[in-house]
Every structure is written in structure tokens, then in C-alpha cells.
Amino acid sequence: MKNFKYFRPKNLDELLAIKNELKEEARLLAGGSNLLVYIKEGSLKSGTLVDIGSLAALKGIREKDGYLEIGAAETIIDIMASPVVSEKLPFLRESLRVFANPLIRNISTVAGNIAEGSPIADTAPLLLVLNSEVVAASITGRRNIPIDDFFISLGKTEIKANEVIITIRIPIPETGRGKFVKLGLRKGTSCSVVSVAVWLIANGRGVEDIRIALGGVAPLPLRAVKTEALFRGKILNEHNIGELALEVTNEITPITDVRGGAAYRSEVSAALLSKAVRECLGMEE
């Protein structure tokens, strides 16, 4: 028999207190897209549904100290509509256009998207290439978790049972261009088969720095640091982009599931990486 409680904290202290008290049994609900599916399917039968959707402390999209700070309860649509985001990080707005569909974008949050530690969370590669930080809070204080340390294993993140994600911090890049490419099984809403994000700082076609992240090709969303190293310092052309991109297949460990085979995921990762790099360079048709 299902047995749920509902609690709407009035402020952050109340939220942190109940999270500290109930730990995993406190199920945070901002948009609710995943949680409500688990309840309907019966895989989740009890707990306290902690409604953070309208908690002022988790709202707000602002620029602060060179960072874009996004409250954990901000929806994808509000992030896309934010003038600050448009001005400071249009890459984020553009990339979120492929997130689920317009209805789901109206309720989903970035924090909710990454909180489950899913390898196909569409915002994960974005946050990775942007060197983002996840701000977690508990009754004992706050800590900033570099996104590189955030994902631990399949379905597991660095967030402790008594912690709550309160803010996503993204350093506003001074230079460079980004591109996010997602391969799904249809054009409308679909889970990613593979997704690739690239942030490229180039001088002409010369690579000063590059950050590459992928989703759907390992138990975690991951940075392809070896491939990045290969790209760094190279003068790029259509041909060597494709060759360099192949390196990424050595850094990933895709599996075969109903959405795609491991071999395809691997090979198409390199293709998507090439595409993303070319687009960053303005080479794509």
C-alpha cells in the first residue's frame, strides 16, 4: 500500500531540517517528472514528498562574481527565458532547446535532471564542459561540489542523504564557443542515445583549450580528458577533426540497450564530437 506524506518547507532551514531528519525518505519534488513516474509505476511506495517547487530560497537566476547562479528550483523554461542567461551564456539557452519537450521543460529543473546520477541526463554534459559547481546544503553548512566530482557511479551522486542541491554555479566563460549535440531516436522528445557537449576556445582554427563531455556512453556522464589533450594545440581542419575525435572511443564504455548498440554508441560518439567541434569553429554547413 502506498503511504506518502507531503511537506512544503517555508524556508531553507525547514527544508534542510526535514532532509536531515528523514534523509532518503525525504523525496524532493520540484517539477516532479521522475518521482511521479516511480510512484505511478509502484517502484516507490512511501516517503515524504518535499515540495520545493515554490521555495524562494531555491529560486533566482543571477550573475554573481563571474558566475551564473541558477536556483535549484528554476525550471528549464525559466532558464531559457532568462535575460541573464541569454546575455551571459547563450550556449546554455540554445542547448536546452533539445531538452525533452516544451511541456516537460515547463516543469523540469537542472538540479532534478542531474540529481539521479543518470548517464543520459541531458544537462550533465553541459555542466561538465562549463566547469560548473553544484552547491549542496545541509544543516551543517554548504559546500561547492565541482561537477567533475559530482557523479560517482550509475545512479549515485556526491550529494549526501542529508543534503539538498540549492544552486548550480556556472563560471561565465570569457572566451570560447560551445555546442551540444544530442542523438535521440526521434526528433521530438526522446532519451539520448548519445549526447556530446563541447566548449572550444580557438584562435582561428588553432585550439587553445577544449572541454568535451559525453552522456549515454558510460555509467556516468563524463569528460573526455584524453581526447581534449589530443585536440589542444592542434590546428584543425575537417580531416584531422574526424581523426582526433576517434580518440574519444577509447575513453568511453558504452553498453548495448534497447536504444542502441555499444558499437554504434561508440562510433557515433566520435561522429557527434566531430560535428560539435566543426560547429564551434563555424565549419558546419
Binding site: E41, N101, R186, G188, T189, V193, A271, S274, E285
Partner: protein, 769 residues
């Protein structure tokens, strides 16, 4: 077109659309009844197993549970499926269907027990209290393997549950005459209907002891199946259909109705049952997946000489309509082409997968994918324009099909194909990694049931005292405008406005039996029945008016509630000869001549097929058409984007032009889904893509604008010369898209859906060659 009609063929506006946009229409799940129980179904989590123990004790003991049923509670749990025309070569059909699994389950999701409780939460909790122990049995999931002698048997001692063949001419000689031969194997997916409305219904026992079931039914005649299970006379079960939120064949076979009947009968209380989306996946039939092997030969001047096809379909674990679907595949296997030498061998095979049965296209679209891929490749081999090549071989009126059936209506295939291609307009340019290509495909699909089934449809039409009309027909309304067509036909014939005609439909004890909304038969059959009844009523009126004014009835015309002299209607000398319809009706009534008629339309009847060899006509007629696509293929990832799309069919005569286009657009969309993304995947019998975020149907972003070209030969067997369009609209879509992909990248996809991964692999294979 359609100038001579006031209503027929125009964009006439829907009968229920206003209520639908207002949110006023009541669908099956919206009904509640006083004191109603809520039901759930306990289902197998094994694909092939013996049920060693089933213990309902704890579930029954749960507070709020009213009724828990297993196989032993079902009066007639088993029914032996005897498919008409089943061949003797594979023996009598031994498959037994069971309402609830008794000793053995044969697929994942098979129903084992039913629960009805005071509310849904309790019913769900009761499911968890049902205890079951299984002993796994050997299972088989591949129909090709399942055909082999040593394979585990699903029912009886033969997994092949139907075999059909066609033999025409001399196949060896035919291939010997060929200058080019294309021989390839193809596969098609297990497609899920994915109607947005779940299967749902309510049931109750009325004060006459009749079991009433109100549910989303494509086939209200299932009241007989419910009666058989309950051991009641047919007259004690009544099905009232609801407005249906999408069917496509998914609500054609048994879904909730028997469970609802059983639970109401056993509990004595009203019951509601709605399938979850999960159950819609696990519990309801799918389109049968096919393995197709085709060999087609042509001379160097482009004449087809021979075609050989071997078809194997996966029937799943129980026999529903897969043997019939296989007949369709066998008869349609040649495509709409005249081929002098034909050999077709087709099998449907039992496996431990989910059962397969009706889905729009019904055996016709699976073969269309193969025969149109073959035609495209033959044209390439001959370096001939694919349309010119097809034109040399299209079936024409008067030609004989491979099963020796003469085509008796127009076959406007050259027009349809040319116009579909022309509708694409100018061709887009590709780029380095994005290749643009075009393709088209032609197809044929029967409308109306197989003629050996001796199909009939009834309709009753009257005129009320004020001159308005009521139509009664059992036909369900799936949203295709089934009731609307009857209204338009009767209004046209009786000279009334649309809103002066009311249609009562889909009630097995109130409306005259009209048959199913399946097999693209609704307009053809029920439309003709309504036409006949309306013509009879018109005759009653005109005869009476004739007697009243002393003018022969042929010279009279009925329009706008007036009876006129047919010629010089406006002339002053004839004004005296004009009667109001109401006057005539009153006069009829005074003499006991009630303006009403119950009419029966009979399809052509043929003898049952008595051997596995199909050599006689099977269908009343066919609809012909073509679809064309322009695609862009990303050669780096294999992704396909549809750029342009068109569909052209000769529908004989439109009743409501908007509805014809709607069928063509929607059919194309479903066929595109089948070609590009839809696949109900099971692994070892366990469904993997049951929900709508794994089972992907086209969204608005996956489809381009769909151009429709409506041709009207007025040569069909339906009312006013109409042909059917519901199923034909889907058949040519997948091969059109696949042929376009072939044109774009030089590689053919033989296994639909053509996912990015399959295209990627095919491209890689080509590069490595």
C-alpha cells in the same frame, strides 16, 4: 469534382468536432456508475511457464476486495480457435485461447486473475497479495526457429498455425525469361497501436438480468464472445460502444470486455476496468513481425516475368487474427502489378511472444515494404526510371491478380504516382554530410472483409413527422467520421441538411447490426446500408407524393423538405405541384405507410477457401495509390530527417474531403513511424519498449507537411462509387521512405524501422566494401 452533390464530397464539417474541442465528449474512462467497483488484472511475469500454485486467499481477505477470479471461476474459460479456411496441410488448428491462464502461461503479461475492489488502491494492493509459483518451460521467441520440428511447442504439436500459398503460371519459366532478378530478405517490426486512449469500460447487470458492457469497442459484436464465456444466451449480453479515442485495430480484438462481463456477473456490482499504459503494452496484441524473402524478375525492357515470395509472420502465443492477416499478405504479395508467374508461400508461426493481430494495414503493408523495395531495385538494375518501370506493370481494370481475381474498378496508379511525385515540388540540396534523396512507392489494399466471410451490414433510416431523419446503425465511431459519413449520405439522399439527420450507433441491442469498424469496411458496408435504407425511404415519400399530385414518381425530386416536379421546378405552373415533405409524411402516416426502412447491404459472397492454395477472389475490391518522400540522411550518424511528403490515392468518391485527407495524413504518419522508429521490442519475451518514451511514435517534429492528392474515379463499390481509405493510407509509407533513403545514400535498408543505427551500419558496410 462532386458538383452534382449538395453534401457528398465537400468539406462538410464534423458531426462531433465541436463537442470534442469543447471537451464535452464522454470517453470510456469517463463513465462512472453508482456503487461501482474498480478492477485490475493479475498478469504473468513469465513468457513460458507452468503455474504450479496460485493462491488468492490473501487477496480475497483484504478489506475492500469484493471479487477475485481465476480460471476456475470462469464458466467457459477455454475456446478453440477455428479459423475459417484453415488448411489441412498443417492440421486442424489446435490453439486454445483462455480467458485466464489456468495451468500454463505462454507469454509475458498473460492474464491470470482478476480483482475487483471498492477502489483502485485496494485493487492494486490485492494484486500484490496474490501468490503464484511458476515452473519455467522451454520457450521459443524466433518464428523461424519455432517452425523447426524440435522447437518447443506452444499449442498442440505444430507451431505453424496457418499456411497459405499462391501458384500462378510457371515460376521457373518466368525467372528463365527474366534478364534481371532481384532477390532479397526483409523484416518488419512488431508495431504497437499506441492509441492515446487506454482500453477502458464499465459493466453492470440491468434490471432484466442483462450484462451491459459500455467500452471502447471497434467490434460491438464481441457481446457474443462475452456471452459464450459466461454461458449466457447472446441476448443476455449487451455491448454499448463509446466514442473511441483511437483504435487502428488495437480495440478490434478482445480487450476489457470479457473481464468486465465476468466481474459484473460474479460480483453483481457495476465494475470499471481501465488498462494502464503498461498493460496496453503487455496485454494487447501487436502487429505481427514479418520475415519476407522476395525474388522478382523482369525483362530488359521492363516487364515483370516472375515473382516468388516466402513470408513468415510471428503469431505470438495465441491465435487471434494472424492467419487472416497472412491471407492478406499472400494475396497482396505481388503488389499492384500484373505478373504472369507467381509463387507465394506464407506461414504464421506460434512463439512465446505477445500475440499478434489486427493493425491498420493488416498484412498489406508488410508486403508493400518488400515488393516496393524490390521494384525500386529492379528499376535501378534496369537503369530505368522507377515510375516508367512501374507503369509497364501496373494492374489495370480488367486485369487478373495472382489469385485469379479480376480487377473491376479503376486502378489510377500512374496518376497517383505521378501526382505524388509532383506534389513534392523542387528537390532540396544536400551538403557534405547530409544527403538528400527521393523515393516513392505504390500500393494496393483491399477494402471490405474477405468475401468468404459473407459480410453484411444493416441500417435503419426514417423520417420524423417534421421531416428530420434518424439513422440507426451499429457502426462504432473511431474518430474517422464513421457516423458522420452515414449522416452525409442520408442527408444527401433525403434532401436534408446535415443537422436534420441524427445518427444513433454502436449499441448491440438497439442499433441494427452493422459489423465491425475494421478491414476498411465501415463506409463501404454501413455506408451502402444507409444509402439503401435512405433510398427506400425516399421511394416511400415519392410514391406517396406521386399519388397525391398525380405525377410519376420518377419526375419528382426531394429537396429542402419539399417535393418538386423534377423539371422546371421554378415554373409558376408547377408551384401547385410542389408539396412540403411534412404534408407527404402526414399523408403517409394517415395511410399507415411509415417512412422508414431497415436495409441490409451484402458484400459479394464467395465460397470458403478449402485448401491452402488461394486461387479464387478473396476481396470485393481494392484501393490504389502512391506515397512519395524526400529525406535528408546524416551520413555521420545515420539520422534521417523527412523533408517533404506526399500521398495520393484514388478513393473513388470522397464523402467528406477533410476526412479523406485526415485518413491519408494520419495513415502516412503511422506508416512513417513503422518505417523509421516504431518497434515493440521483446527480449526473451520480455517487453522492453512498452511505454511511450521508449516506444516512439512520430511527434509533430518528426513529420513534415504532408501533401495530399485526392483522386476520384467513382468506380468503387461503396456509396456514390467510394472506395475505402483507412488502411490503404498506411501501406505505401514505409517503402516510400526507404526508397528515398536508398536514393540519398546509395544503401538500402532491409529491416524496418530504419533507425539511425541501422542506417549507420549499412553505410559502414558500404564503405568497407
Amino acid at each position: 469534382m462532386s458538383e452534382q452533390y449538395r453534401i457528398i464530397g465537400k468539406r462538410i464539417g464534423g458531426l462531433d468536432e465541436k463537442d470534442k474541442v469543447l471537451g464535452n465528449v464522454i470517453f470510456a474512462e469517463d463513465y462512472t456508475l453508482p456503487g461501482m467497483l474498480h478492477a485490475r488484472v493479475f498478469r504473468s511475469t513469465r513468457a513460458s511457464a507452468l503455474i504450479k500454485r496460485l493462491d488468492l486467499t490473501r487477496a480475497k481477505a483484504l478489506d475492500g476486495v469484493v471479487c477475485v477470479l481465476s480460471a476456475e471461476d470462469v464458466p467457459n474459460n477455454e475456446s478453440v480457435k477455428n479459423v475459417v479456411g484453415q488448411t489441412t496441410e498443417v492440421g486442424l488448428l489446435e490453439a486454445t485461447n483462455q480467458v485466464l491462464a489456468r495451468d500454463r502461461v505462454r507469454f509475458y503479461g498473460e492474464a491470470i486473475a482478476l480483482v475487483a475492489a471498492e477502489n483502485l488502491d485496494i485493487a492494486e494492493e490485492a494484486l500484490e497479495l496474490i501468490e503464484i509459483e511458476y515452473e519455467d518451460l522451454p520457450a521459443i521467441f524466433d518464428p523461424l526457429e519455432a517452425r523447426k520440428p524440435g522447437a518447443p511447442k506452444i499449442h498442440g504439436d505444430n507451431n505453424i498455425i496457418s499456411a497459405w500459398k499462391i501458384r500462378k503460371g510457371d515460376i521457373e519459366k518466368g525467372f528463365a525469361q527474366a534478364d534481371v532478378i532481384v532477390e532479397k530478405s526483409y523484416r518488419t517490426p512488431r508495431q504497437e497501436h499506441a492509441h492515446i486512449e487506454p482500453e477502458s469500460g464499465v459493466s453492470w447487470i440491468d434490471d432484466m438480468g442483462v450484462v451491459n458492457i459500455r467500452y471502447a469497442a471497434q467490434v460491438i459484436e464481441h457481446y457474443r464472445d462475452v456471452a459464450a464465456v459466461l454461458g449466457l444466451p447472446d441476448s443476455r449480453v449487451r455491448v454499448i460502444g463509446t466514442i473511441i479515442g483511437g483504435g487502428f485495430g488495437g480495440k478490434e480484438d478482445i480487450t476489457v470486455e470479457i473481464f468486465l462481463g465476468l466481474l459484473a456477473w460474479k460480483s453483481g456490482r457495476p465494475v470499471k476496468l481501465t488498462y494502464t499504459r503498461e498493460e496496453m503494452g503487455f496485454a494487447r496484441h501487436k502487429r505481427p513481425p514479418y520475415y519476407l524473402h522476395y525474388k522478382t524478375g523482369a525483362t530488359k525492357d521492363g516487364k515483370l516475368t516472375a515473382m516468388e515470395a516466402k513470408l513468415v509472420s510471428d503469431a505470438g502465443a495465441y491465435v487471434y487474427l494472424s492467419p487472416w492477416i497472412l491471407i492478406y499478405s499472400t494475396v497482396h504479395a505481388t503488389g499492384p502489378y500484373f505478373i504472369p508467374n507467381v509463387k507465394v508461400d506464407a506461414n504464421s508461426v506460434l512463439t512465446n511472444n505477445i500475440m499478434t493481430s489486427a493493425f491498420r494495414g493488416f498484412g498489406g503493408m508488410e508486403v508493400a515494404f518488400a515488393y516496393e523495395s524490390q521494384m525500386d531495385e529492379l528499376a535501378r538494375k534496369l537503369t530505368m526510371d522507377p515510375l516508367e518501370f512501374r507503369k509497364k506493370n501496373f494492374l489495370k481494370k480488367g486485369d487478373e491478380t495472382a489469385n485469379f481475381q479480376t480487377i473491376t474498378s479503376e486502378a489510377l496508379l500512374p496518376e497517383a504516382a505521378s501526382k505524388a511525385l509532383a506534389a513534392l515540388g523542387g528537390k532540396g540540396k544536400g551538403s557534405k554530410h547530409k544527403k538528400v534523396g527521393r523515393g516513392f512507392a505504390c500500393s494496393w489494399q483491399s477494402y471490405g472483409r474477405m468475401t468468404y466471410l459473407h459480410d453484411t451490414s444493416n441500417a435503419w433510416v426514417n423520417l420524423e413527422m417534421d421531416g428530420s431523419s434518424v439513422v440507426r446503425s451499429g457502426i462504432p465511431d473511431l474518430g474517422g467520421g464513421q457516423r458522420e459519413s452515414l449522416r452525409a449520405i442520408v442527408a444527401e439522399i433525403l434532401g436534408l441538411k446535415l443537422d436534420e439527420v441524427h445518427v444513433i450507433s454502436t449499441d448491440s441491442q438497439v442499433t441494427p447490426p452493422a459489423g465491425t469498424v475494421t478491414a476498411t469496411r465501415a463506409l463501404y458496408m454501413s455506408g451502402n446500408a444507409a444509402r439503401l435504407a435512405a433510398e427506400n425511404v425516399r421511394k416511400i415519400i415519392l410514391d406517396q407524393a406521386s399519388a397525391m399530385v398525380g405525377v410519376a414518381p420518377e419526375k419528382l425530386k426531394l429537396k429542402s423538405k419539399q417535393v418538386y416536379l423534377a423539371e422546371n421546378q421554378a415554373g409558376p405552373e408547377n408551384q401547385a405541384k410542389k408539396l412540403s415533405l411534412v404534408e407527404v409524411i402526414k399523408s403517409c402516416a394517415a395511410q399507415g405507410k411509415i417512412p422508414q426502412s431497415l436495409a441490409t447491404f451484402k458484400a459479394p459472397f464467395t465460397e470458403p477457401i478449402t485448401t491452402d492454395l488461394i486461387r479464387d477472389p478473396v476481396f470485393a475490391d481494392f484501393t490504389f495509390g502512391a506515397q512519395a518522400a524526400e529525406v535528408e540522411v546524416d551520413t555521420e550518424t545515420g539520422e534521417v530527417k523527412l523533408l517533404k511528403y506526399s500521398t495520393a490515392y484514388d478513393i473513388g468518391q470522397a464523402i467528406n474531403l477533410n476526412r479523406v485527407e485526415g485518413q491519408m495524413e494520419g495513415g502516412a504518419a503511422q506508416g512513417i513511424g513503422f518505417g523509421l522508429m516504431e518497434d515493440y521490442i521483446e527480449e526473451e519475451g520480455i517487453p522492453l519498449t512498452w511505454n511511450l518514451h521508449e516506444y516512439l511514435v512520430p511527434t509533430s517534429k518528426d513529420l513534415p507537411d504532408i501533401e495530399t492528392v485526392v483522386l476520384e474515379s467513382r468506380s468503387g463499390k461503396g456509396p456514390f462509387g467510394a472506395k475505402g481509405i483507412g488502411e490503404p493510407a498506411i501501406t505505401a509509407a514505409a517503402p516510400a521512405v526507404i526508397n528515398a533513403i536508398r536514393d540519398a545514400i546509395g544503401v538500402r535498408i532491409y529491416h524496418v524501422p530504419a533507425t539511425a543505427e541501422r542506417i549507420f551500419r549499412a553505410l559502414k558496410g558500404k564503405r568497407e566494401k
